[in-house]
Symmetry: D2
Subunit: 403 residues, 4 copies
């Protein structure tokens, strides 16, 4: 058992860390008011400049093993570092949902699909959205999906309404990766297809941008998208019609590790701010660190972060060594543990800041929102707890049945 | 022991409930998008119309015992009903910080101060702000206050910076009730004065409006206000110079009961939405009420709401029967218990709604924010826990000292 | 709304409080080693003496309204006081399971049953047990009960195994109140009968006494009782054959209020000990009250106790004013809230005492056990949460069905 | 980063696991009634037989690196396995407090001390106790210690009272490792000495055996020991007079890892029992696993166990690679996290078993007690949270001071 990072990971921890600290953080701090609660749907010029810098420095597409040569366990600490900042993942071309879409295209795309969509995504010249969740059904149960993707000769026709389509507001968003029902009578896991729909296809309408807790998360945002008889060539299906399930599953393993490691970075940043505040702000004659249970809460935060970090690193290692099936419970575990931990650590940091913690003077409001939303996005806590319990109980049920 | 409401309270529960249900809620629903995350600092015309209606119906200034004839325990269920809506308290002229300011003027104001400020506030023709919290010190410890209110002949000169001055952005806000240090060498509880500062006095500058979690809470908002050599007549001091402490204390008892009862209304509303969602949304072939621990969480929410409601009613009864001193621990208790309960019930309601719970389609985002902010406003959890512990331990310390 | 106790309740609070403080507590303290973890199944002579005193002072059978003239809300604070001590309820003839059995006999017994069993129970000359729970089924679901009580001519024949039959070890235990299935084909709530079985009836065997966390709770204890073709006259059935359900239900309302109020007394006593320790024990140069989060935890304990006390008093008031049906949710609520609260307050008290808290030097070990066991006895937390949720959701389900 | 165990660890996981499963568990099950709540202070013959077996199989003294060649991270999973059983650690000569005493003698003992005491301890022919905690002071603050160990010529004289001296009741206990104050005027960390006191030395009196929650934990037990002018040769001091602090510190690192890994084993065992019960016991027509939030709680237990296991393994790795100083925070972290986790998992298992969970039919009562006591033993939660916070805040305080 060896908890040390590989030499390559250590080297990148240094260079990614330095880039984020020296280049990204100062730019963000200067743009703070704009970052938060913005309704400006244009791309901040700072982001464009930082993207060019990151690319030039080779800090680009690190999330994709075949490009970066990094395992999940090597990439994890880099994702954590990115999560400490607002723009970090984006300017290194490591932001969702593009990362997941690139993984899908890389693993399952045809040469034509790769040339048309993967190449510019890897280049960072276009952006993409992933359209799965729907407003009128419980999307954690995929069998309830209403959007259709019907094969009609050499075309696929998409009809339906999606929401929480992250990134669809971005001016560079040119690709929608859409999931729809192709054959409702097929077995449960062979009904859905993944279809590549250019944003500009007739019949595609972004009906509205959603607020999360009042925020639009511009310029990417989260959209409600209507598909009215949207027709694309059959060659725009990824894999086979009806083959969405396996593709989407493969997308989710690394994606959840990325999300969770970024959330750990965000919690670390919040704890850092909390500690700074705790030793520098004074009340009743003492630094507030020394009042009441504040030290205990800081200790609890450290323990919670450290436990969840080890849990994610272990899940990444399982994914690297045993594949998705061997990591199934572990990945659902981190998806429950990490966002709840992050929400609670950020809540503590807000409380230690008093009113300032809720204001635009600190990045704690958005941090809280990221953590909170992640308890719903990519499957709510309850669904993942269900997966963990199912795997835990399976051998007992088998044994009981054997009696 | 009798837990039933008085006949007068029961009657008002009916009429206030009907007004909120039939008049306020529909108007709010129609204005939902505008209500949330607005940056429009004008008064919605609906609010003006509803104020006129409420006044005509006698549902006006119910919070003030000498006007309404209601005890705290009678008013409590009305405040709860108001808390279920966004505009309810405001359109019945029962919204903070005006309520607290009116209480102060009613109890401690001179006839001139009453005529000049209390009358139009009771009329609803002007609004007011309360300026106590400061950005550079821990305002839960009043001895750290930096703003000064120095007596200079027949004038008072105010210098300093306040923030979280709620309501200062409102176009009708004409009065700032400001607390400042008059004599730093006086005993701890005789240093501060409360000064009535017209919003238009030279030297008063609203430097910026604060966001809470990205929101401005327009049109009242929360401002950062600078006072540069702001001079008002000595007769603008409420009570005596140095007399702020007792005045502010008296303001806080009923105020915290109002806040807490409104937060209970908000939690009830959230639980109501959660139950509606739980029985109507289906996943994995069942209403989500019947999935996993959802029923248990709904039961826990009911128990938490009910316990905290009884705690507030009991505190209100203590305030009515024993006065502020006899209710000191009880009032700090509710200030800890209720906002935490409300935050947690709203969080559950959000989770049961999935992504929709965070969006503008439901009022759960703002509800969460109200509850969360209340864990800081009017004294953070930690300070109130300290008060409760101090009162709890006092007899033991006395006895131990007696040994 | 009036939170003050009635004059009669106030008077008894005084006299019961004085008797417990002056007579019961000192006797208990002297017998501490014997009280805890005893395997001596004889009745302590101190208990007999205290019973005589209590009876002479009129502090006897206060639990039974028709005897004492007290409502549930009047009796509640007396039960709380009894719960602060180990012997208090017993020496005032107010201890379970006799109380419940006396209530059953009082409400549903024939004149003969009353003369034979109720009279000596009220006198305190005999004791009784209640035999419902069974080892091989989930007793929270009464439909799984296996013990039978079959009518055979003018006799009833009982067969089966019961456990957690509290009090069956007591040398004075002469009566077993047994529930069994009479007609498995009857509607769900008309299958069971309640039968009065003299302890000495042939076929009754106490197979073993159960430990709870290693303790026998002597001399009453909790037994596993086997019934082999146990025959008693048909006139030993309480009410009608098949009528057990309504009888048992009626037994549970007041019983749960008694249990919960006693658990509140126990939590108060634990908090009292915790406060004494916190101000008198010193570490790192301070009383431990002033270390870390100890004050906050003491405040949290106070708030939790106070909330749960109000919840129980309100449930008692509902039971008094609206009867069992109107108090159904409230009674399940207290059954969840109070034991969990008490377990957690006692846990805190143990922690503040360090190792001593677990030792025989303080009564915190047994207090913890009482609270923990009560989360299972009389229906586990989960079942009561289910009842609360069912009642909470009923109107929403009805409305959804109406659509 | 590599989470796989070393080949040597894997091999021992197999052989230790088999020995515990095939030899120890069946013997324990047969002796269950005797194991729990026993007041028999003789050594069970089964234990003696199993010790011989373990020694013959080479499963002996595995805890001591210089004997077993195992690192802390290699030994950790073996300790976890031992923790699943009651006798496991003891019969493999890996039980506290002997392990810690052997470590101390191995690292700091003179050749004579080793021959006289270490050899028979390693042989398993004698047992030992560690006497540090005192009844009248807060032993988490060593500066309050009252027991003295005064150098008088070529002797050391010990005076004082210790309690929670674990193992002192064992018939084979021949050695007391005692900490006392030698020079109260020396610097804080140079005041205390560790003295080897034969159990039979005149002036040593075991005043009483302590109960924990009513249990004596026989035959080792926990004693209160009085030392009245107890004289031993100066050569019985371990290290130098005044040198206790460094010695005791070194003892605690591995010891806490052992304790925590055993507590994880105990939690795993409890979860196993809970899962078996959840799938086999039926209520309301379903296995109780499928009722309410039971599956979610099982999932939460799995996540909590897994997180804490990784935390302990990481702490063990830090201890192996960076020594005690580098592992200081990590070791305090596990000491907080693991016992709380174990207490909570066992509580869940008890609840899923209903009344049976508290009875002598399952080993859950003792498991709960082990976990609960560990939140106090070896430093209470609060002290360890303090250590974690101190290390966390140190750099911020240094930086703030640098301003």
């Amino acid at each position: 058992m060896d908890f040390s990072h590989s030499p390559r990971a250590l080297e990148l921890i240094d260079s990614v860390g330095a880039f984020l600290r020296d280049r990204v953080s100062p730019a963000e701090a200067a743009a703070r008011e704009r970052l938060m609660a913005s309704t400006d749907w244009s791309v901040p010029p700072e982001v464009e400049a930082l993207k060019a810098e990151a690319k030039a420095a080779g800090l680009w597409n690190l999330f994709l093993p075949s490009v970066s040569g990094l395992s999940n366990v090597d990439y994890a600490p880099l994702a954590e570092l990115m999560g400490r900042t607002h723009w970090g993942a984006e300017v290194m071309n490591c932001a969702a949902p593009d990362t997941g879409n690139m993984e899908v295209l890389h693993a399952f795309g045809t040469p034509e699909q790769k040339e048309r969509w993967l190449a510019p995504l890897l280049e960072g010249s276009i952006r993409s959205a992933f359209c799965m969740t729907e407003p009128d059904v419980a999307s954690s149960d995929a069998t309830t999906m209403e959007c259709t993707a019907v094969v009609d000769g050499d075309e696929v026709v998409v009809n339906g309404v999606k929401w929480w389509s992250t990134g669809v507001g971005h001016p560079d968003c040119e690709l929608l990766v859409v999931m729809g029902v192709t054959d409702p009578s097929a077995p449960r896991h062979s009904r859905h297809s993944i279809v590549l729909v250019p944003r500009s296809t007739p019949g595609v309408t972004v009906e509205r941008m959603l607020q999360t807790m009042g925020w639009y998360d511009a310029p990417g945002g989260h959209g409600q998208v209507r598909f009215d008889d949207v027709r694309v060539p059959l060659s725009n299906v990824v894999g086979q019609p009806g083959g969405a399930f396996a593709i989407a599953q493969g997308r989710l393993g690394p994606g959840r590790i990325h999300h969770c490691m970024r959330a750990i970075g965000l919690a670390e940043k919040a704890l850092e701010l909390a500690c700074e505040r705790a030793v520098s702000r004074t009340a009743f004659g003492k630094p507030i660190a020394n009042l009441g249970g504040n030290r205990e809460r800081i200790a609890d935060a450290r323990m919670a972060i450290q436990q969840s970090r080890l849990l994610v690193l272990h899940a990444a290692w399982l994914l690297d060594t045993e594949g998705l099936l061997g990591a199934l419970s572990a990945i659902s575990q981190i998806k429950v543990v990490v966002p709840n931990m992050a929400q609670s650590v950020v809540d503590l940091a807000i409380q230690l800041h008093g009113g300032a913690g809720l204001s635009q003077d600190f990045p704690l409001g958005p941090a809280w929102l990221v953590a909170r939303a992640l308890r719903i996005a990519d499957g709510p806590d309850e669904v993942h707890r269900g997966v963990v319990a199912k795997i835990e109980l399976a051998p007992y049920i088998a044994r009981a049945a054997g009696n």
